[in-house]
Amino acid sequence: MAWNKVAVVGAALIKFGELFEQSYEHMAAGAFQAACGAVDKGFDPAQVEAAFVATQRGTLWGQEGIAGNTVPSAIGLAGIPCTRIENACPSGSDAFRVGAMAVASGVHDVVLVIGVEKMRDKSTEEGLLSRAAGGHPIFTRGETAPVLFAPFATRHMHEFGTTREMLASVAVKNHYNGARDPYAHFRNEITIDDVIKSPPVCTPLHLLDCCPQTDGAAATILVSAERAAEFTDNPVFVAGFGVATDHPYLHEKSTFTSLTATVAAAERAYTMAGIGPSDIDCAEVHDCFTITEILDIEDLGFVEKGKGGVASLDGETSLTGRIPVNTSGGLLAKGHPIGATGVAQITECWWQLRGEAGERQVTTKNGFALQHNVGGRGSGVSVVNILTTNR
């Protein structure tokens, strides 16, 4: 597979949260400006040759559905080629992959990947909860977002003895990390008891097992590795990526203890990078719910199938653990502005590999960081990107 090496020379996000005071356009511009400012040797916005915008729903089905032509204008780049990428919860990570391919193919040398999502311009009822009435009138009726993951928790608990304490330990760890991330939506630490005693949302998941609704934006600047030295002496490279799909409806799932799209996407990414799970120093994975992270760390190969709950409770995925996961606070604490999420995860990996993660910094002895999203109806799509400092 012949492809030109790609370098990430700038990455940034805006402070995530309920950004009632900021428009979609303001968030996009904020992330873009921050990414430009993050380029070590300076970056002239006019150097951007093309952009890929990840927005999953656009103010939950509003105007930004046509973000491919609204975002360039909002960030002062009207005229450039720009395309909106929508691929469910992995929209941001898939936009990064597509941006990387645009550079790897040799068509462009400098590409902007930007993810923006306005989650809080609509009420919860009219926004996320309204999906309970969408889709198939029978098979998916009542299917709010937690319904897509809670059945996996029920089955994982049944088959492997995973406990609510084990689920809760994921939220506790990610809030601990989020408290150390200035960009996180929630910066408070919580206890296992807090999670278990929080209100039930979709049994067996409770409120603190679920990520919040968050506004946010993040951006990265990709260049061909040949030209990386123009921008930085400390580049991070794209080592590999993988995408996979699965059947969308839950009644079509073959298993409720694994997200098979993740397994396939990871296998493709590891193969492309020429490494295995044990080579990864740290990972940003999709923890929209606590059970999701437990499934992820098993499906990505960090722990044995069925041991994700025990590993989490034992601290194997903490900042000082064997394989630190979601050092940024993850979706649970940092937030999940859908289109921005993957790009923000890339940013955390970029900081970790460059040694710029502050008090969240982990040891990166192998020089590999993994970023992962899974989503869609019934976790029907997953994207894995692997970054490296190895030349």
């Binding site: 309970a132 029978i138 098979f139």
Partner: protein
Amino acid sequence: MLRLPAAAVAAAWGRGGGRGQTSVCAHDEDVLTLSAEAAGRALAAAGLEAGAIDGLWWGTSRPPFAEGPSHAILAAAIGLEPNSGGALLAGSPHAGMEALLAATDAIAAGSARTAIVVAADAVRPGIGTGFEARSGAGAAAYVLTASDAGANATAEDGALIGARVTRTHPYLDRYRGDGEVATRDIYDARLFREEIFLPPVLEIGEHLAALEPRVWSLPDPDGRLGGIAATKLGARGAVASDVVSQAVGDTGAAAALLGAIAGLDAAGTVAVVATGGGRTTGITLVADAAVPGAATLHHLLAQGAETSYPEVLRSRTELVPVGESVPMGVPPESAMFVRGATEMLSLLAGRCTECGTLNTTPSIHPMCLSCGGTKFDVVPLARRGVVHTFVVNRTMPAPFVAPLGIAVIDLDDGARIMLQVVGDGSDLEIDKPVELVLRRYAHERGVPVYGLKARRLPDPPEDPDTSDPTTRPKTPRPTTQEQ
């Protein structure tokens, strides 16, 4: 179904007392779902497949559409063939009896060999009216066949319709004006008793009494008049329908045939009187032995969780939260429902002719999930299975009612399906058996949307209805009912 104590209604209106209880619909039940469930039980008791039925005769005062495909939806839900016939009889509590007579006439005329009759109702009283604590819901289904139906037919197989007699008087009793939602209560109790109810019921009853029935099914619109009629007819102590009306109240168009089932669990003649809408009809059902299915009645009457008055008001959409409710993604009149209506009501799958995989449903699977094949046999899925995994959703916008259980079910034929569950989900457990029953998923723009839901079965499962594979139909074959 749920049971509403009369005392709960009385207390809500600041009155003391209140005797007995009624059967009421849960929020996802209506006349059509009750009818589908009763029909399924009757077919099982008769040992017949739905494909053997020539027509559906359905009597109810409250078809789910004032004008629309009520009959067609029920026929599809029961699994009748597209060329099946029958009729929807409505307009009064007499409609259930009219359905039985119409089906009998169709068989006598030779236009049908085997018919299913469903008498169903969910009486909706005016809120706060005196008969609110008596208004019930239920359904009775009878399978009828021509009396010369094959050499295998024996006297033990069913009951024969004997006498029939009707009187009409153009008087108002309980009625519902055009565009009105609730049925109006009796205008004057004394007038109703002396001039409207007792004269035709007693006149018809005396005709039937001459045939020396073993037991009776008598109308009892207020919890007292049935007893008065029985006394005057010398039938006190022989009113089989009392056990039904005490358990479920006045079930309107279902009452006469539902009450009759209570008398069909042994040999003998059952005298059945139906009245309403200015018409009164009496028939006899002559059984040489217990009719299959009738014996399950007592078990069914004992079921039903007790509910509260506010929950009943909420189920009847008389207690609704302010604010907008979330509309369905596609309107019920749209193309998706044209493509998917039959396959969802009948729960059809496409079985891949290459690899045998069951693809659910055919309209969303042009190519096989497993092998990519494009040729399918359309088959109905099993209606029983076990829970593979589940959730209980507790955060729902209107019009949803939380807690809402949703289960992934492994059906007995190997297919996997995800459906909502009946009830609040508190009885869900992995590996436990469930059955699929028709329920109303939504009511939008005046359109009820029906689909199957999973209901927990006892563990281990018991199925008295199908325990006797030797049953064969005869004439008529009253069977099950209220659930």
